[in-house]
Symmetry: C2
DNA sequence: GTCTATAGTGCGATAGAC
DNA sequence: GTCTATCGCACTATAGAC
């Protein structure tokens, strides 16, 4: 066994979720997080570029899933088809077992404006990643951006529903319904 | 004439736009902004809750316009109708004369992640304000949220287009086109 | 208007693994 | 010796408390 406990990053993330839930984001200092994880403040900032980031490091995987779904779609797929593939891919990251965790994390974020800001930035990153993937497929800029933004709009609302829904319908299904509802809202006439 | 120059708030906003554009958001300290506006740091934080907020204080007006458009729609208006009314209302805030200003402000924000975060939070606030207005009209929660998010998606993409478009079509028109395009993307089939 | 806690950065030191 | 993870310390700016 080495000089240090393994997985300092994981311990910091766990400490953050616990302490933020218990006493709030602003009432928790980085020093306290570090202490609970058995490292120093300096080490915290080696793993996370800022205090908020400790809750958001999983976004990279989500983004690849989102983009790969776009890249893997058949050549004649429409932007709408690609969006559905992306939404289905993202849903696989949130199986029923992760609902309790997701709910706790969501509650922590909802309680603090600066955490919401970070979450929104990450979601906007997903939207533009999907837009880029569509653009690479030959979809013109505005339509690609719009599709990316629409996908995120569906995801956001469906995710909130998935968290709240007591009978636990799966996220993919909720997203399909939301997408249909969006089609209804934006239908001409 | 009084002891102080009038409109300290306006001078701080102008100083911020100039200095952020010139040397970047992070390279500009609040002390420098305050000095250029002829006030102290303390005065800056009296007007703006944080350094970023100096670029975003106009959001309240936008939000009322957004909400009022919803409240003022006829009783039998669909969520889609309300969304169009809200988008038309927001477009009146961005006449052709403000394009140069909007473009500069947008460039400053685009150059800094934390400013993007703040902008996204303000836009999310607009989305939920519209959702609340729809909810008050009897639209059920998820459909109301979805409509709010869709309106913001259209606004974001249309606004970027309006800023970039060299021949200056007006924002309301671009938004109508974007909405139609969104209807096409989300159409079933 | 003054004081202070906290976030976040830069750089060098240290302790182990190889 | 090299490489990597961690720590220690000094420092600035934001933001809130007093």
């Amino acid at each position: 066994m080495g000089r240090w406990q393994p997985d300092a990053q994981g311990r910091l993330q766990q400490a953050a979720l616990d302490l933020f839930a218990e006493r709030g984001f602003e009432q928790t200092t980085v020093a306290e997080l570090a202490q609970r994880a058995g490292v120093t403040e300096r080490t915290f900032f080696r793993y996370f570029s800022d205090k908020r980031e400790v809750l958001f490091s999983g976004e990279a995987e989500l983004r690849s899933a989102f983009v790969d779904a776009g890249a893997g779609a058949p050549r004649d797929a429409t932007p709408g088809d690609v969006m559905i593939a992306a939404l289905d891919a993202v849903a696989t990251f949130f199986p029923a077992e992760r609902r309790a965790f997701a709910r706790q994390r969501h509650a922590v974020i909802r309680a603090n404006a600066s955490l919401q800001e970070r979450e929104l930035l990450k979601l906007a990153g997903l939207a533009s990643a999907l837009a880029d993937a569509l653009h690479a497929r030959g979809v013109r800029g505005p339509a690609a951006s719009l599709t990316g933004e629409a996908a995120i709009a569906v995801f956001k609302v469906a995710f909130a529903q998935w968290i709240a829904d007591p009978d636990g319908r799966d996220l993919a299904r909720i997203q399909r319904e939301m997408l249909a509802a969006l089609g209804h809202v934006t239908a001409p006439g």
